[in-house]
Amino acid sequence: MSSSDFAPSFRQGVKDIAPVMVAYIPIGLLWGTLAAGKGFTALEAMLTSVFVYAGASQFVAVDMWSAAAPALLLTFTAIVVNLRHCLMSASLSRHIAAVPKGWRYALIYIMTDESWAMAERRASQTGGLSFGYLVGSSLFLWPTWFLTSFIGAALGKSLGDPAAIGLDFAFSAIFITILMGFWKGTRTGAAIIASALAAVAAKLWLPGAWYIMAGGIAGVAVSALLYREGEA
């Protein structure tokens, strides 16, 4: 692949993900302040965001954190909270034929819910993902997250309630927007409804983050059941 192919799709990826990057700033700051409240130094907060780099499980971890950090319990919880990544990367793997093989294993490390959703949308619109787009739509979210984690922990004190300005809804708005781009008729509606019903049931009756896998698997199962031979 020549650099002239890489640059335009890289720029498009950066452009598409820019609003998400803005939304990461207050959330990273917030996570840093919560971590500092549990005794993380600023460096520890930043390195957590560098290495774990998973917003949902980092918030859960800080919530569970105690003086003697329960490493095994935190590890198991991280697996449960992040099981959805298995479904996500399985789906994404079909669209990355143009990405050099070694890079796939590096770029999957910095896959987040939001960069993955953006990449899937791109793949559904253009029939595949270029190397440039995958890098552009994911790379800069990473330093945004770990640098704001450092700053938040260094500031140490709470920046106020994010719900007061509606920030707690920002990521729902991001997902709703990307989700609407996938509408391909009533089958899509069936998958969405199945996912929502299963997620509600799991949230009511199961502890922790199982609702994500419950919804994900329900939507996938309904779509597989509704499939008829001979379709595209």
């Binding site: 990367s89 399985a90 708005a173 996938v220 597989a224």
Partner: protein, 106 residues
């Protein structure tokens, strides 16, 4: 200043465990499906992953929190249907949810 940059063993163990767990979940899909040609029912199932996972992630917030969140979600969905830019939808969502929480006392 040195306090900002200190590292502690209990932290390190927990972070190593969580990092390995998180990367394992991320790479698992690539390892399971890497290079496999996917067709038919399997393709239909995988094609449903994006909408299914995204809907499940937002369900507690948009369906199980209160009327302000559910109504705001519907408004953002309409904005998205008319292809408004992502940043606009984020701002619409934040403004609507704050306003409705005040109005509806949610």
């Amino acid at each position: 200043m040195s306090e900002l940059f200190a590292l502690h063993w209990p932290w390190a163990l927990a972070i190593i465990g969580m990092s390995v767990a998180t990367y394992a979940t991320r790479v698992s899909g690539l390892l399971l499906l890497g290079g496999v040609e996917v067709r038919g029912r399997m393709k239909a199932a995988l094609d449903a992953v994006p909408v299914s996972v995204m809907m499940a992630v937002i369900t507690p917030t948009v369906l199980m929190t209160g009327r302000p969140e559910t109504i705001t979600a519907a408004i953002v969905a309409v904005c998205a249907y008319f292809k408004l830019p992502l940043l606009v939808n984020i701002i619409v969502g934040m403004v609507c949810v704050v306003t409705l929480r005040h109005v509806l006392g949610g």
